[in-house]
């Protein structure tokens, strides 16, 4: 045990020369005049950082990829639908009514524009009637009674040229109140 040991000592109160604390001392404290500016900047920086964090967390709720069932389907030949009828064969599976009249065919999406219930087609009264809050729509999909604020939406409809079948694409909707029902993709001429 020949090594010398340095006994531990209570460190002196004043900062040693060359230490970080001493440097700050030398640079001087934040002046009285600067203090409010520094403080405000610091608070703004904190608020901005928290806001950014909040935005990132909020963004987390919206996934980049959505796994949804296919919204595009083949709906047979135009001849399968008779004139003047509201066809309900795709309602269960795809949520679509196909309506055919003398001039055109169109596909209505079976979602009430009020609060998203599924209306029923009442053939006897010639209207779509929503069971939730009593909204009523004409065969054209235009609302006429109850709380619905706007007509039903049409889905994109076109003929597949390879086999002559109707294709209905729910991925694109047409709103009457935006004047989109004149769009050639929103109906089929027959």
């Amino acid at each position: 045990m020949s090594e010398q040991i340095t006994p531990y000592q209570v460190p002196p109160k004043t900062p040693l020369a060359g230490s970080a604390a001493a440097e700050i001392r030398e640079q001087g404290e934040i002046s009285r005049r600067n203090f409010p500016v520094v403080l405000t900047t610091a608070w703004f920086a904190l608020a901005a950082a928290l806001g950014g964090l909040g935005a990132i967390l909020g963004r987390f709720l919206f996934p980049n990829v959505l796994f949804e069932p296919v919204s595009k389907f083949k709906a047979g030949l135009p001849a399968d639908y008779s004139v003047g009828e509201v066809d309900e064969r795709w309602k269960e599976k795809f949520g679509i009514w196909v309506v055919r009249n003398e001039e055109i065919m169109y596909a209505l999406i079976t979602v009430c524009t009020h609060l998203g219930c599924t209306p029923n087609w009442l053939a006897a009264q010639n209207k779509f009637k929503c069971p939730c809050h009593g909204s009523g729509y004409y065969r054209t999909g235009v609302n006429f009674e109850g709380p619905a604020p706007r007509p039903l939406e049409r889905a994109k409809i076109y003929i597949d040229t390879s086999d002559g079948q109707i294709v209905i694409d729910k991925g694109k909707q047409f709103h009457q109140e935006r004047g989109e029902w004149t769009d050639p993709e929103s109906f089929l001429k027959t």
Binding site: E92, L115, C117, K129, P131, H133, G134, E145, P147, P149
Partner: protein, 407 residues
Amino acid sequence: MTFIKDFVDVLSGSSISFLLLTSLFSFLIFFNLLDGRLRSKGGSVFIGFGLLFLISGIFIRPLLYLAIAYLVLMFLLANLGPRVWETRTGLIILVAGGGAFGLSMLDPQFYLIAAKPDNVPIVAMIFLLGFFTWVALRKAYLNDRQLLAGGIPWEKTESDEKLFTCPDLVYTEMLCMIVLTIVMIVWSMALRAPLEEAANPTSSPNPAKAPWYFLGLQEMLVYFDPWLAGVLLPTLIIVGLMAIPYIDTNPRGNGYYSFRERKWELGIFLYGFLVLWSFLIITGTFLRGPNWNFFGPYEYWDPNKLVPLVNIDLSELIWVKALGVALPKIWLIREMFGILFCLAYLGLPPLLAVGPFRRFYQKMGPPRYYVGTFLFLIMMALPIKMVLRWLFNLKYIVHIQEIFFNV
């Protein structure tokens, strides 16, 4: 018996009972709980309502029924006076209410709806609300009598007396827990939790109802668009509730039951809580059937009931019906009247501040006064829109479809 059922069915037309309750509460504010006599001002308001119903009743039958019910109630209240708050009267009311309910359960249609497992808690809630409202007002009446005689409220006689938490409070709590546990177990064994068919996104049940505590909001949806009834108004309800302690600066009535010292606060709160919230929930639960149509308590829920819904916008009412011209193309001009009406309605506070509400304005100071009256006006917008709907089939006051802004 059939006559009574018809009477009740017609009377419970939501518009009707709503008016009944509305007027009843406007009356309660003026009603002097202490001596049971009608105050001159309140009395005339009250009698005015009765006369109005009576005269309209000559033309519209339901209103005649309403007038009868209203006058009977007025007569009872005016004559019973403070005896309403006696335990004996309370028991009689309870027995009468329970009896009426029991008798009604004999009716198959009533039974079908009232005994639905999910509706049982709401039946219980009706009785609990009635009971506790009565209890609170009774205690308020007893305290008011003391205060008027120069005494102190009952709670104050005991407030300096302190008990040990252990055992007094701890044992009360334990007893409550045991009773509640028993209630929960018995209830759970007696009634199955409802489970319907598996979810099917392509067919809506008829009627499709929100959970019962949101049925007041769903009822509001009949009168307002979702952005108002589903988003803005609920937000304002919450904000309004939270604002209460900051708007109400009345230092009296803190920590004891009292009515005289807080007439306006209690009147407005009771109106909002009992009529606009609870009563609408009860309406939505028991009186709204298939297609969200209105059905009286004994009426068969016919899914094919035809109710013509031909509601009309204010713009159409004025431009087409009254002025006989076509609707203007530009929405600002088309909706001019509606927008003016809304602005005038929300512009009422400053006018009221120099008019009938001067007293409140001076007592509360501008910030409290304006926030308070704004919230109050928003609250009253619901019954106002309801009345407009029943009277004129009015759909929207402002209808700007271009930006989905419908009021």
